[in-house]
Symmetry: C2
Subunit: 153 residues, 2 copies
Amino acid sequence: MSKTKPKNSANSGLRPTSRALPIALLRTREHIMEPIRPMLAEIGLTEQKWRVLRILTEIGPLEQTAIARHACLLLPSLTRILSRMEADGLIRRAQDPDDKRRSIVQISKQGSALIEAHQPFSNQVYRDLEKKYGREKLDLLLDMLEEIQEIKF
Amino acid sequence: MSKTKPKNSANSGLRPTSRALPIALLRTREHIMEPIRPMLAEIGLTEQKWRVLRILTEIGPLEQTAIARHACLLLPSLTRILSRMEADGLIRRAQDPDDKRRSIVQISKQGSALIEAHQPFSNQVYRDLEKKYGREKLDLLLDMLEEIQEIKF
DNA sequence: GTAATTTACTTAACATCGCAAGTAATAAGG
DNA sequence: CCTTATTACTTGCGATGTTAAGTAAATTAC
């Protein structure tokens, strides 16, 4: 008998990447996004701008720090993304009168129209996923992902 | 009775972002990576370089297209990343004699050493996650993520 | 066997990422 | 008050993301 189970030639005792959560999450996300990206490109949105618009639609006018947190963007990135989106008329920025450091960001009519235009496609993707993966399993997965996000490390 | 359930003031019939799989996967990944990034920075690796080294360790010498696929990187990014990693002595590139278009990439001793140095920390993170989330649930989650990646869209 | 196509990258250009440093406004401490 | 944090961004820089175009080698089609 050998001392331990013989490892893959090149592998030195690491978990396979398919079982490494950060990589598994990334690969899954890329797989899901593959059919979505062309649609976003069609309406001229990057993933990041799409997330910003979704957040603003969901929560309403918001300061940048909060947008960054919800959309998983860093403030420096958001600064540049928003100035472009403002120039393109997708959002508006207004200085907070009570705290002149803050600016409150709000989606524009044009931004809302983009999200609305994208919605049928988005719903279709979701139904397709439900159909191929299972509604209950998908719900369970989303629950599990939410639970992980609440863990304190 | 109102006709349909009254929506959130700003929301126009979209799934909440917490239940949108691409966003949920991204947020979960960011949450998991938060404690890992400082460690990678300490040994001078970006996430991308870390993934490349993990893939090369797991599979062995590989052509760039395959690395890109496994590590979720685009070829143009990989080109730059690899030339930097080669300059830093983490990998080696050799032209495939049977097909001079291809180059076969291989991890160096120094690259392997980095992965080994990172391994105790990586295992610690994984044990911590198992402890706080549950080993069986984590295994189930990884199974579910793998299953989604096999869906054809 | 040669032209057309495909494959495996590479280069270029511009947007975003991620860290660090800078700026202006507010809050806290003495 | 007035100095010293702290907060909410903004700017700068090098690395990466993303699309398009370019190059060289292999494959396919005639």
